[in-house]
């Protein structure tokens, strides 16, 4: 009886003895889960180096890619995702890696590349059932490309009440039309700046235009053509054009501010998937 008991103990201990690679993998995973991405990369790389049979290879490349992505080292992340993709076999794994590459491109703001990859994914018949997912990431790509109108359209394709669609529409409404801002500045100098909420620069612009406009017109009405042309071209036109350019600059700046605020809001409050 004793012998049988000893036997069972020895047998089970041999059965459950983890090999060193598995332990290393768990160790690296533990670091990854605790957000220690730099150390996790080191440990995954160590495992990769000693894993002579390449048992963990594709999985490790994927994990290293994720670590680099979390550390905002997007170029390295894409390099490792690409390596993982080339070694992956299962179609679901390949899809997961492909979307990670797209998400990294979105974060890197290489939105054209992300768009191209999304097109390839959409055209691939193997991923027909993932269409909503692809549209979802396209929506995110549009948001990062500052095309909120198209982002809202993309999210509406998934669900007309999609929270990101509502947010994208709000941004679209809040943002200033750069063309309109410039246009009103040409009609009434300074109005573009006032429209974008920059009252003091707007009023200063208006005042300078009134002054130099008056002097120009005064010169012409008193037949001092040379004076009129000189003041008009050197001073008035300069302030007139400057007002429109300034208004354009303000509109762009305000739009970036609105977009960034919304992205920050999404980052902190949106509970769904993010790039």
């Amino acid at each position: 009886m004793k012998i049988i008991l000893i036997n069972i103990i020895i047998f089970t201990s041999a059965l459950f003895a983890q090999d060193y690679l598995q332990r290393q993998y768990n160790h690296a995973d533990n670091m990854f889960q605790n957000g220690l991405y730099y150390d996790a990369i080191t440990e995954y790389k160590r495992l990769q180096f000693f894993d002579f049979e390449k048992k963990y290879s594709d999985e490790i490349n994927y994990k290293i890619g994720l670590c680099y992505k979390h550390g905002a080292k997007f170029n390295e992340a894409i390099k490792y995702f690409a390596a993982a993709e080339s070694e992956a076999v299962k179609i679901d794994d390949i899809y997961e890696i492909k979307t990670q590459i797209i998400r990294t491109n979105i974060l890197r703001r290489t939105t054209d590349r992300a768009h191209q990859l999304l097109n390839n994914l959409e055209a691939d018949p193997a991923y027909r059932d993932k269409l909503n997912d692809i549209i979802f990431w396209r929506g995110w790509n549009y948001m990062f490309a500052d095309d909120w109108d198209k982002a809202a359209e993309a999210f509406a394709e998934i669900d007309p009440n999609h929270p990101l669609k509502i947010l994208a529409e709000e941004v679209n409404k809040k943002q200033y039309s750069v063309t309109f801002t410039k246009f009103i500045s040409y009609i009434l100098p300074g109005s573009g700046e006032i429209y974008t909420g920059n009252y003091l620069p707007g009023l200063l612009s208006l005042s300078w235009n009134i002054l130099w406009g008056y002097l120009t017109l005064d010169a012409f009405t008193h037949d001092r053509l040379f004076d009129g042309f000189a003041v008009g071209s050197l001073l008035w036109m300069r302030f007139y054009r400057g007002s429109a350019q300034n208004a354009e600059k303000f509109a762009i700046r305000e739009n970036i501010k609105i977009a960034n605020n919304t992205l920050r809001y999404i980052q902190n409050n949106y509970e769904g998937l993010k790039p």
């Binding site: 201990s13 041999a14 090999d19 060193y20 080191t42 004076d227």
Partner: protein
């Protein structure tokens, strides 16, 4: 009776046989289990963090240019063993990520009785050069501190290059150029001449030219558009002022005269500033070219390809 005896003997031997076979069976199971356990233990015994494995992994990282992680592995390894190759790679990794002071300390550790003595001394000079304290570099060369015996000429070349970057008197041209190989001489001679006779623009000359003809100083500093604009603006404003004064518009005349004076004086100042900007551009471009050239030449130091082969 006999039958009974034979029967009992048979039973006893059968029992003994059964006991023996059971023991054999148990022993076989025990041996199998213990051996499998030993194999598992041996497998488990592979320690990825042993000094030897750290060195192997560090070398792998070093050759993949992941210097930051290689440093950690070498550091841990060097706590157990003072291996010159590992220390040299450790110092190279430190230098690669810009931790110059630590790199220098580790190179110094290899200066004496090490197979890497020559390479460490060369790298020591290279790091000192990259620290951009050229005066210190020259004094190291003058004092011949830790100079690599077999590669003195390389360090002399690097030393000459400090004169090209620093603002000090250049050594004799023949001595300077002749210390380089034939293939480098023409490029080095070009650098030497450009340093000795830089195509600078005089700030005083630019200001005087603009004082005589508004905008001429800027044209002299090759800022043509600004020069022409300054000439037209000052001329037009002066003419308007003059025209207003002759037509008895004193207020407007004064206003435009003020603007003309501002434009004139601003242009003189602007021309001097333009000459300074032009000269800074010349200096910057020259230094960039010199540094690019040195980088291309690996600072005249042989590349240690053997470390990753």
């Amino acid at each position: 009776m006999l039958n009974n005896k034979i029967k009992s003997a048979y039973i006893i031997s059968a029992k003994a046989l059964a006991r023996f076979s059971r023991m054999i069976f148990i022993a076989a199971i025990l041996i199998t289990n213990i051996s499998s356990s030993i194999i598992a233990q041996v497998t488990e015994e592979v320690n990825l963090f042993s000094p030897v494995n750290r060195l192997k992994f560090g070398n792998h990282l070093f050759c993949n240019k992941d210097y930051l992680r290689a440093i950690d592995e070498y550091r841990e390894y060097l706590k157990f063993s003072n291996n010159d190759t590992a220390r040299f790679k450790f110092a190279l990794s430190l230098a690669a990520i810009g931790r110059a002071t630590e790199a220098l300390d580790n190179y110094k550790g290899l200066f004496f009785s090490s197979i890497f003595s020559e390479q460490a001394r060369m790298e020591f000079y290279k790091v000192n050069f990259l620290m951009e304290d050229y005066q210190k570099f020259r004094s190291l060369c003058t004092m011949q501190s830790y100079l690599p015996e077999k590669h003195k000429s390389e360090i002399v070349r690097l030393n000459f290059f400090t004169y090209l970057i620093d603002d000090i008197y250049l050594p004799d041209s023949a001595e300077f150029i002749n210390s380089f190989d034939a293939e480098d001489k023409s490029e080095v001679a070009d650098f030497y001449l450009r340093k000795k006779y830089p195509p600078y623009k005089s700030t005083v000359k630019a200001a005087i030219l603009s004082a005589i003809i508004p905008g001429a100083g800027k044209i002299y500093t090759e800022d043509y558009a600004e020069g022409i604009t300054a000439f037209i603006a000052t001329g037009v404003l002066s003419f308007i002022a003059y025209n207003n004064f002759t037509n008895n518009h004193k207020l407007r005349g004064t206003l435009f005269a003020g603007l003309a004076v501002l434009s004139y004086a601003g242009n003189i100042y602007g021309s001097a500033a333009s000459a300074q900007i032009y000269n800074a551009g010349i200096r910057f471009n020259f230094e960039s070219e010199v540094k690019l050239y040195l980088n291309k030449k690996n600072y005249f130091i042989p590349v240690h390809n053997f470390l990753c082969n």
